[in-house]
Symmetry: C2
Subunit: 334 residues, 2 copies
């Protein structure tokens, strides 16, 4: 069954799924781990979230993850159709998280088998950004689109390309690492070992680094100068920008400008119908989107201007990951 | 009929086409215009070429083009199934060349109607780079590939993305302008009005500019210093590099390095099965490919290394454009 059929089934309410069953969608992020119980209509009937990194950094993350999952599943009457796990750096074929620079366990880790054994339910693994894109296609703003790109702006920058009615998996199942494409040659060092990767400018950590750079180059006062680099969260910077902090605003503007340049590259290459942004950084709203749009239009050849829709995920940044991970299970069972 | 079926028909010699008919493939380039009479098996049975820009710059290019086409068609006994025209900056839907920065006529120009009227044959218009990609899929190295990217390294840099078994046309029929994606922020001025576009480093003109830059930054002797900037052709620079000219070699190396960086971006995004290079610059062979491969592998995340095939078009740089333009006609008639 193709995704489009599935979407139509839901729209026409001629679904093949037992509505008494739910899917557990798990979104493993570099900062938070989120869990949602999702119905076939994309409704969330139960939710949990906890910080991915514990304060002392010495606990057993996989065990915490399974315990939280069990507690959530036990809270509801519906039975479990399956589990969808969205994670960065994973290999959906083998079921392993194969490289996990931002996660608190050493890769490779057999996350799929670990869940199947501990929760006795069919488990599907999917790249975090692919999950968000599937959610957007099934229940979000991309429902009627044949080509779109989704970017997750979280701790890092994830991406998914949906072209000719399907997600681009890549010939070697490696697509799509837009976050680690060189955006500024010889630029900032990245955790991947390269310099100038897009995610070192456009992500929660990129935002922190934008602000640190501004603190170095400008003398404008900011109360965030009194907070240590690692304690300045993306949320804190966004709040400060809203409250009139000029450098916090410029740090977000930098994210928008660099993202605008990156989206221009994508539009010029693939001319997609839409581009969706998901993840914590999108809470900045216009502070991010306005400079983004301005730079995007400027960097496009005239024929491309104002063609591709750029929007924040219709699923809400917070839920897109878990909804998408759940969508993968419905898709497999359809 | 899908491209794959068509290829199989040819391979199994169960083609549906009348072998007594041929297609005229026209490749309009910024430097040369090439014309080939192509059989359904991809054999060229007649060929012409002339410089796109006349010496005085005042003649009527469209008229010259039609006269050469007529002369070529009249030379053979086979009847004409149709004409395929590959050109940069064209709109296949309207049949217009809509922007043509490197061509000797003002856009928009209704090239399809002009040919249909003057040669009384069905005429199809296709972007030059898409044409080369179709040729590669039908008769070249991409025959058995489901995803590949083709770059034409001519006067400018053209591109075509073939994903999930079809060319990416784009939601607004604008894909794929890789040559005008910003490669080096605030870099060289481009004829499109932006700065730092990939084609200002990687193309015949990019090669000339690489050499001019080296003449400015280095003191190494080179007999090409005695040739004016505009007279230093890509072919001349390649010959000089082969003959031991160190700066000419470095100018080609720069093309390779920047192309390696650009291909790394494509691999990280789309993880294609293959990448094919076509066009005059590929005559440099190892002088271009070796630095390219070295930089490509360096710029990729480890998991991506040595996965995607990078090769020079199997059709030969000179014929890929006309073969591909002809392929479009066979495809339409199939």
């Amino acid at each position: 069954m193709q995704l489009d059929d599935l979407t139509d089934f839901f729209t026409n309410r001629q679904y093949h799924f037992n509505l008494n069953k739910v899917v557990l969608g798990v979104d493993i992020g570099g900062t938070f781990t989120k869990l949602s119980l999702v119905t076939p209509l994309g409704h969330i009937v139960g939710q949990e979230a906890f910080p991915t990194h514990s304060h002392n950094g010495h606990d057993d993350y996989p065990k915490r993850l399974v315990a939280t999952s069990k507690a959530l599943v036990n809270r509801i009457d519906s039975s479990l159709l399956g589990i969808g796990i969205g994670a960065p750096g994973c290999d959906p074929k083998t079921g392993y998280i194969s490289y996990a620079v931002n996660l608190p366990f050493s890769a490779p880790f057999p996350i799929r088998d670990f869940f199947e054994e501990n929760l006795c339910a069919h488990t599907a693994l999917i790249k975090d950004s692919s999950a968000a894109a599937l959610g957007e296609k099934m229940w979000g703003g991309a429902k009627h689109m044949d080509s779109f790109v989704l970017l997750t702006l979280g701790t890092g920058l994830g991406s998914a390309f949906y072209i000719h009615g399907q997600l681009v998996a890549g010939a070697h199942h490696l697509a799509s690492e837009l976050g680690h494409t060189v955006h500024i040659p010889q630029g900032r060092a990245c955790s991947c070992g390269q310099r100038g990767c897009l995610e070192t400018y456009v992500s929660a950590r990129g935002l922190q680094r934008n602000l640190s750079e501004l603190f170095a180059t400008e003398i404008t006062p900011s109360h965030l100068r009194e907070v240590s680099d690692s304690d300045r969260t993306a949320e804190m910077i966004t709040q400060a920008a809203r409250g009139g902090d000029e450098l916090a605003r410029q740090a977000l503007e930098r994210c928008g400008v660099e993202l605008g340049n990156a989206l221009a590259r994508i539009c010029l290459q693939l001319d997609p119908e839409g581009i969706f942004l998901s993840g914590g950084l999108t809470h900045a709203g216009g502070l991010l989107l306005e400079p983004l749009q301005q730079q995007l239009q400027k960097a496009l050849l005239p024929a491309f201007r104002n063609k591709t829709t750029v929007a924040i995920s219709a699923l809400g940044g917070a839920d897109a990951g878990t909804l998408g991970a759940a969508a993968q299970v419905y898709l497999e069972q359809a």
